[in-house]
Point group: D2
Chain length 249, copies 4
């Protein structure tokens, strides 16, 4: 009974700070580090790697669309060849910087609109997964279960890590869109209860139906103002329920 707890970190940029990475990391078992295209910059990456090393957790690359002003959350129509090159560049930059600190890259998780587009469109998913595979076929590939991300991982022979979101509501089979008034869950105790259900294989949707899932990681959004409290509550509840919080080996 193990489960991974991940968050997106390293999302500051230059003079602008985002997220409470140092406070958040002690509750996590893995982090996805922004690579400089939608957020992050070389100095921020180094600082984030140091925090991750100190917290002794697994690190992943978190590549996004080249859209700083949109924080990688806006759909951009790129050719698959461009997605491949952009993702490969970002993974390489992050992995190479991590190597200098003795940290091996553990996984890749796409960010924002790239993640959503790759979950929907096989061409985007394949371009992303191919970049992961070409860089290092032993990397884990994190994504939405039953999505094109999972299909691409299977096609490439990449180890897939399915994720769920304890502080996001689900509608039908999917995440409720961010524009939905109940998209986010800010109450740490509700997020904690949902986290345990998810680790046990169930998600309750907004329509009060139960989805059966099989996920290996749970994601806390680092830019949620309650992120630290949520992570703390989620971790405590999971441990109480008998789960060990650790990254997949």
């Amino acid at each position: 009974m193990t489960i991974d707890l991940n968050a997106d970190v390293g999302e500051s940029f230059g003079a602008w700070t985002l997220g409470a990475d140092a406070e958040l990391m002690p509750f996590l078992s893995s982090v996805n580090i922004a690579c400089g295209f939608h957020a992050g910059d070389p100095s921020t990456i180094l600082r984030t790697l140091e925090l991750a090393a100190k917290a002794d957790i697994a690190i992943g690359a978190h590549p996004g669309f080249p859209d700083l002003i949109g924080f990688g959350r806006r759909d951009i129509k790129l050719e698959p060849a461009q997605i491949y090159a952009d993702v490969l560049y970002q993974i390489a930059a992050l992995a190479g910087m991590a190597k200098t600190q003795g940290l091996p890259l553990h996984h890749v998780k796409a960010h924002g609109a790239l993640y959503n587009q790759a979950a929907r469109e096989i061409s985007t998913a394949r371009a992303t997964a191919q970049a992961v595979k070409d860089f290092d076929a032993h990397l884990c590939f994190v994504g939405l279960p039953n999505s094109m991300l999972e299909q691409a991982a299977q096609e490439m022979g990449l180890r897939f890590i399915a994720e769920a979101f304890p502080e996001r509501n689900y509608q039908g089979q999917h995440l409720a869109p961010r524009t939905h008034p109940a998209a986010s869950i800010d109450d740490p105790s509700i997020a904690a209860t949902r986290a345990v259900q998810m680790a046990q294989g169930r998600i309750e949707t907004l329509e009060k139906q139960t989805l059966e899932i099989d996920v290996q990681t749970l994601c806390i959004h680092g830019d949620n103002p309650n992120a630290v409290a949520i992570a703390k509550a989620v971790r405590f509840a999971l441990e109480q329920a008998g789960f060990q919080i650790k990254a997949l080996i």
Copy 2:
């Protein structure tokens, strides 16, 4: 009697093309590939790597200041820690992309204002050389002989490759600044004659004095409109003079 012949390549960006990389590479033994900060982008890097693989020449990272609009040619006052992070990121991105094509990184050469600042200021040189060393202590480090770049390489135990510029004039001990009317030499035959002298250990300055030098590589500027003709003439003259054109192993 061997000498390396290098040029800066991969300096296109998105829809904008710069340089005649495909025509130039067959005359070279190594290239310095822009890494996306002053020029280049992930798709351009991939294309450039393919050309280098086809030409079977050594590849190096060509990191620059984060100054796309200034093409990395404007002095920016960065903290050494930022220079270190920026250079490390760029080397890592390029080396990681090259690895997927089976190309090992051979060297690092700083670009433009970063090169000039590092030649002058030991703090910039050290930050740059430290990033090279931390990424891979076996990489060669290309730079101006008798400069802070050379000193930093020695301090770090990096293998230093001294370079000279056959199509640039020298003033006193240094390159004539680009603003000097005779800064550039556009005539391929003059460049070729100077290249042979340089390979033989001599540079004639604008003041008609002779500098004694010991250089292992000669650089052709890829953005010179005559670059291809110059490279061709230089290579032919060097071979006629008994030099073998090849990268240091």
Copy 3:
């Protein structure tokens, strides 16, 4: 019998040159100047304004998506409020710079993916047209006839200038996509013949059908390698056919 002849100019960026603006302008009666988001930069804008002043032709702002690496040719899903703000900023920057050279802004024409998206989607067209109107309700608004661009102009009470493309083929009612092998017409004499037909109210499509149109401007793509020869041939043919080449007053 007058017709306007326009082209996109000012599309260089920093060290990268695109287009032959100085050679092209003498054949035109108006230009659309890139504003720094998909191409162009402040120094390029000033240089372009000087050329336009010398050629004594009408100037327009050519706002695009904030996508330098994609040259504004990739679809980005922006909120209408962001499109409004981005377009307003670009118009303001260009108009203010033009004012210092005594040049009044004549029109606005959206660029690339913004143009195409606004031609298709009324929300994008309205956000763009609203920015034009709020900046200066007397500006002309250039776009595809019978598109959402035209509808938005009518709703806002903006003067609409309908345009056709003599060096692009049409498929059905629309431009053949750039991916179509016959998308572009490189032969100046064919472009010239089509220009006269268009000025006279007809377009012959790839399916050999004739569209009836009513256009007030014809566009030559400045990044076409034949742009200057095409502009010259088109202008000559139009004048031979009795048209006066001038911007709408």
Copy 4:
């Protein structure tokens, strides 16, 4: 007995928030709005203009170096012609956006490294002041008294507004550099006392000497975490001392 109280605002960028503009503005009589080069973006500018309109205070353009990652605080060596173009573009963009909201541009104040460089170097000061003058010769030009900024304003015939910094310490005749441990003053009551002294014509330096000055505006740094408390205390103290807080007309 009037004095202006200004702050730099609009320094957020995309998803990143900086400063507490809405809380700060009610205590000010003028603001300097970032124009998108070192901070700010079109949507942020619009939001900031709305706040300024609501607070009914004077607005100025706050142009900076094109250095988002460095927040415009790093020295960059630009040609004067580039500085001129960059500043003109930024003023034009901001003024044009303000015009659509019925807000006239009141002044221009350079940001960060551009401000400091222009205070020191007459060529930078002239390029900046020339852009102000060419855009609108009636604009006020804010800067350090007895600096090259003041000299350039005089040469151009621009109305100069001299400023002092109540929450910054002075060393000799100048601001103590940001690297000085006592560079900033975080205690609102000390800042308030200094503000009154400055409005009355005196600055006490770190060496306990008294500089005689004649300033018309006092600047509160909006990115100071105590900015709101400082602005409140400064305003109250100035009003208690008999000063009316208002922008120059």
